[in-house]
């Protein structure tokens, strides 16, 4: 049995515009004469402030969906509006800009650049985004403090633990104050303790009004999410959860990146 509507039960739909709005998304991979349908018609809405977990067996199309949401790939059919902007048909350079400004990635393998220090890793999206040097410095130190790693700013990724690396990655993802945080198995390579730290961080971000979409096998992480979307064989088969808590009232971000709330981390 498949559910194709993706409006979470009891949500405040209609009032706030969805930050992710997908309709009829299909993705077909072609290799010679073999075609693989990874996604067979996905309709998905994610509203600002939601914490969504995407779960499903391997081969269900989770990674493909992740890539499409993150504008790392384009759908074969369907429409995708991110933060109100239609994404299909955009040029590669424009997509790069969108990834820079609107999406914060967190990967299972952390994917920090090994030859750059922690500080420079977090700084990288700001460099791409053309943020001036002084503002970059302020922002990076803000973020490192928020994840509790300001004292590791000069270290190389090889000199910090896995849990710390993932927290650096999260700081990097937050750098340009993106519309969504997109995480692919963020606790997959972490031990229980570090994984728990990272999950706490995600919960904290959610509490402050961040929109989080997380693909995960980890039931503990899925539990933390308010909404769980089940994928199987390229379709959404289940989508339920408590309504997302209303975001803490604050001014909408203007212009340059600003931290969403401040507090002990």
């Amino acid at each position: 049995m498949t559910a194709t509507t993706a409006r979470p039960a009891g949500t405040r739909g209609g009032g706030t515009a969805p930050v992710i709005e997908m309709r009829g998304i299909r993705k077909v991979y072609r290799s010679g004469r073999i075609a693989v349908e990874a996604l067979r018609g996905i309709d998905l809405d994610v509203h600002p402030g939601e914490f969504v977990a995407v779960v499903g067996p391997s081969g269900s199309g989770k990674s493909t969906l992740m890539n499409l949401v993150g504008c790392l790939d384009t759908p074969t059919a369907g429409t995708y509006r991110l933060d109100g902007e239609e994404v299909s048909g955009l040029t590669l350079d424009r997509l790069a800009d969108i990834r820079n400004r609107k999406i914060g990635f967190v990967f299972q393998g952390f994917h920090l650049l090994p030859h750059l220090a922690v500080y420079e890793n977090v700084e990288l999206p700001l460099v791409y985004g053309g943020v001036p040097a002084r503002r970059r410095r302020e922002r990076v130190m803000e973020l490192l403090e928020q994840v509790g790693l300001a004292d590791r700013a000069a270290h190389r990724p090889s000199e910090i633990s896995g849990g710390q690396a993932q927290r650096v990655a999260i700081a990097r993802a937050l750098a340009m104050d993106p519309a969504i945080i997109l995480a692919d198995e963020p606790t997959g390579n972490l031990d229980t303790a570090s994984g728990s730290d990272v999950m706490d961080l995600f919960s904290e971000l959610h509490r402050r009004g961040r929109t989080l979409v997380v693909v995960t096998h980890d039931p503990a992480l899925a539990r933390r999410a308010a909404r769980v979307v089940h994928l199987r064989d390229g379709r959404i088969v289940d989508d339920h959860g408590e309504p997302a808590p209303p975001p803490t009232p604050q001014e909408p971000p203007e212009g340059g990146p600003r931290i969403a709330g401040r507090g002990p981390s």
Partner: protein
């Protein structure tokens, strides 16, 4: 394109494997060294050959008495046309655009004696202008013939350097001493400075014994000339000048002015042009060989960059995910390739200049093959050519691998675990 950003990203690019970088830069350095040295030796060869060719006289022509091959004004062909001393002032007055024209009279098998040393050689009688036209430059302390020598029919002689050494021995200054020319004592007024020379006629310049034409006529009793030596003011007008000379002499001696065999001429402007063209061809050929060697080095750089792209695939995927544009990624890789090439090229250039500088200090043998090849010369044109080729090689070596990087799909790259 944001070049400043790309440069900043280039500075943050991955550290390279040191050994790999060193080997690549060594290949480029070697290629640059080869290119520069080949071009420099080619340039040096050309310079030396042109100098040697001009040693006989720059942009001059020699004309000889000849035989008519056409009948003219009732006179048959096969007539011998002489050259006489009186023709020289006639030609100087009538032919336009002359920088200089002198007559040369040669007496063969004259014995020259100093003490017990004897040489049987030719004695040349000519005018002071000959020294300038034929590059007979006296060593310091001596001089060539002058107008007073001609006027007073002085018994003075200017000796070629080899002849002077034969007669007086090394280490003796012949100037001011006497030599017996067919038992007539002459005063040596100058010795020729040694020339590196490849062209000649009659006798080698280094064996010359030159006396004033008036003295020559008094001693040997003839007013016939063996040849004329001339130079037009504008080398481009050599052929017109030769034609002018033929016309004047044809009127005097009555032969067809179009009959070139009546007054054969050796036009060194024309032969010099041919030689220069050949030498440019040689230089281009050498440059091509050097450039090919450099290109091979460039292939090495490209190889490295392909490996770099392969190794950095995931890193590039991450950068794209964070918002890096493809053109920035391409730009960084091209800059890296350019950096390898310029660093290696700089080393090659420094080495080449060093080799050239060392060779400049090494004394050259006076004549022979090494004298021709032993003076490589790096001209600005050579330097610019080398730099341009280096730049092109570096950019291309980076361009193709970088294009492959630009085609990386971030989704695939990130999946690489």
């Amino acid at each position: 394109m944001r070049p400043l950003l790309v440069f900043r990203l280039f500075l943050r690019a991955s550290r390279v494997r040191r050994k790999r970088a060193a080997l690549t830069m060594a290949a480029i350095a070697w290629g640059t060294l080869s290119l520069l040295l080949l071009l420099a030796f080619g340039e040096g060869l050309r310079e030396r050959l042109v100098t040697a060719n001009d040693a006989m006289g720059r942009d001059i022509a020699i004309t000889w008495p000849g035989t008519t091959t056409r009948p003219f004004a009732g006179l048959p062909s096969g007539r011998f046309i002489p050259l006489r001393a009186a023709d020289v002032p006639l030609l100087r007055a009538r032919v336009r655009g002359l920088d200089g024209l002198v007559g040369e009279a040669i007496r063969w098998n004259v014995s020259l004696r100093v003490g017990r040393r004897v040489r049987n050689t030719a004695v040349i009688g000519t005018e002071p202008g000959y020294g300038r036209l034929r590059n007979h430059v006296p060593r310091p302390g001596g001089r060539f013939l002058d107008a007073a020598d001609m006027r007073e029919r002085r018994r003075v002689v200017f000796l070629g350097d080899a002849l002077a050494a034969d007669l007086f021995g090394e280490g003796v200054d012949p100037v001011g001493r006497r030599v017996l020319v067919d038992d007539v004592p002459y005063l040596v007024i100058g010795v020729m400075r040694h020339k590196f020379q490849i062209s000649n006629y009659a006798t080698p310049d280094e064996d010359h014994a030159v006396i004033p034409l008036s003295t020559w006529r008094a001693q040997f009793g003839s007013s016939d000339l063996n040849d004329l030596v001339l130079r037009p003011r504008d080398p481009a007008r050599m052929e017109a000048t030769l034609r002018g000379i033929r016309e004047v002499l044809a009127a005097k001696y009555r032969f067809d002015p179009g009959d070139e065999q009546a007054l054969p001429a050796w036009d060194t402007v024309k032969t010099g042009r041919v030689m220069r063209a050949i030498l440019y061809g040689v230089e281009v050929f050498l440059g091509l060989i050097g450039a090919l060697t450099l290109v091979v080095g460039g292939v090495g750089v490209a190889n490295i960059m392909y490996a770099v792209v392969r190794e950095r695939t995931r890193e590039i995927g991450v950068q794209m995910a964070l918002g890096a544009r493809r053109s920035w990624i391409v730009g960084v890789l091209v800059l890296e390739a350019a950096w390898y090439t310029l660093a290696g090229g700089g080393a090659g250039i420094a080495l080449a200049l060093g080799v050239v500088a060392v060779l400049e200090r090494v004394p050259l043998p006076e004549d022979g093959g090494l004298a021709l090849l032993g003076r490589p010369h790096v001209s600005p044109a050579v330097g610019i050519a080398a730099a341009a080729i280096l730049g092109a090689v570096g950019l291309l070596a980076g361009w193709f691998p970088a294009r492959r990087a630009a085609s990386i799909q971030p989704a695939d790259a990130l999946r690489t675990e």
